[in-house]
Amino acid sequence: MLILTCPCCGQTGEESEFHGGGEAHLKRFGPGSSDADFEGYMFMRENPKGVHFERWRHAYGCGKWFHAARCTMTLEVFGTYPAQTTEPPKELRDKISKKRPGWSWGAFS
């Protein structure tokens, strides 16, 4: 069970109050991009054992999207942060580094 806190409205609930939105921080490649870029954007996903970044929506609450960092193995939630960003905040990355030294995920570590 995941316990998430919505950074928008501050409410804490169990995951069934939320809706998962897949991997976070995807960079979109649209019309005019190369086939390889588009394939990467469309199909290639991280599948980590450990630190993972995801998008979630507070479906039964304020309705807003946000980001969450969690561990896929222990379901520990490292933190949540607003959707209006293209990378995890430094504080959160530092916090994860303390708990999971040497972690890396996509371009982040």
Binding site: C8, C9, G10, Q11, T12, G13, E14, E15, S16, E17, Y60, G61, C62, G63, K64
Partner: protein, 192 residues
């Protein structure tokens, strides 16, 4: 004019570990806008005589109140007979501030779950930490109850007000009855 009634015509149920009843008609107005804007605060507080609620709180007295729904939405409660008057006052107070105020009274159903085990009945249905130290009277929570969206708040210890969509009223009533069936006490909160 036709006579309006609540979704389940005031159904109630006793005999379980909590008393479940549908509340009489209650005026509800959804007010969307910047909750820090003076006009929005004036509209919400002026119509109810209640202060603006903090995040996750409900400020209620009797049939009047203001409930926090999300960072840009409050639910204004007023007597059912005074909706038109209240809504007109809210709209006048809002002026041309970017906002939205709509009467949603007949789109909702309101239930009251009462009794020493009310907390347990609610905890069985919602993914919310309802420990007495965490969820206290005056708090408001918008969430899910089994399969439907719902919101609830505690007016006082051992009494929850639950709102859901009117089309879900029968489902919600049956759900609460099931969660409160005789002998279904868990005793979790009593023990902790």
């Amino acid at each position: 004019m036709s006579k309006t009634v609540t979704a389940l015509n005031g159904a109630s149920w006793e005999g379980g570990i909590a008393h479940i009843s549908e509340a009489p008609q209650q005026g509800m107005i959804t007010l969307l806008g910047d909750l820090t804007a003076a006009a929005v605060i004036k509209a919400a507080t002026g119509a109810t005589g209640q202060e603006m609620p903090a995040q996750g709180k409900a400020q209620c007295a009797g049939e009047k109140g203001v409930c926090w729904m999300s960072p840009d939405e409050v639910l204004v409660l007023c007597p059912y007979a005074e909706i038109d008057k209240t809504l007109a006052k809210i709209k006048a107070d809002l002026g041309d501030t970017h906002s939205l105020a709509v009467d949603v009274s007949d789109a909702r159903a309101l239930f009251v779950v009462q009794g020493p085990n009310a907390r347990e009945v609610m905890a069985k249905l919602a993914p919310v930490d309802l420990h007495p130290a965490t969820f206290t009277p005056g708090m408001f929570r918008r969430t899910r109850m089994a399969q439907v969206p719902a919101a609830f708040w505690m007016q006082e210890e051992d009494a929850f007000n639950v709102i859901c969509f009117r089309s879900n009223a029968q489902y919600m009533f049956d759900l609460l009855k099931t969660a409160a069936q005789p002998g279904s006490e868990v005793g979790y909160f009593a023990a902790s």
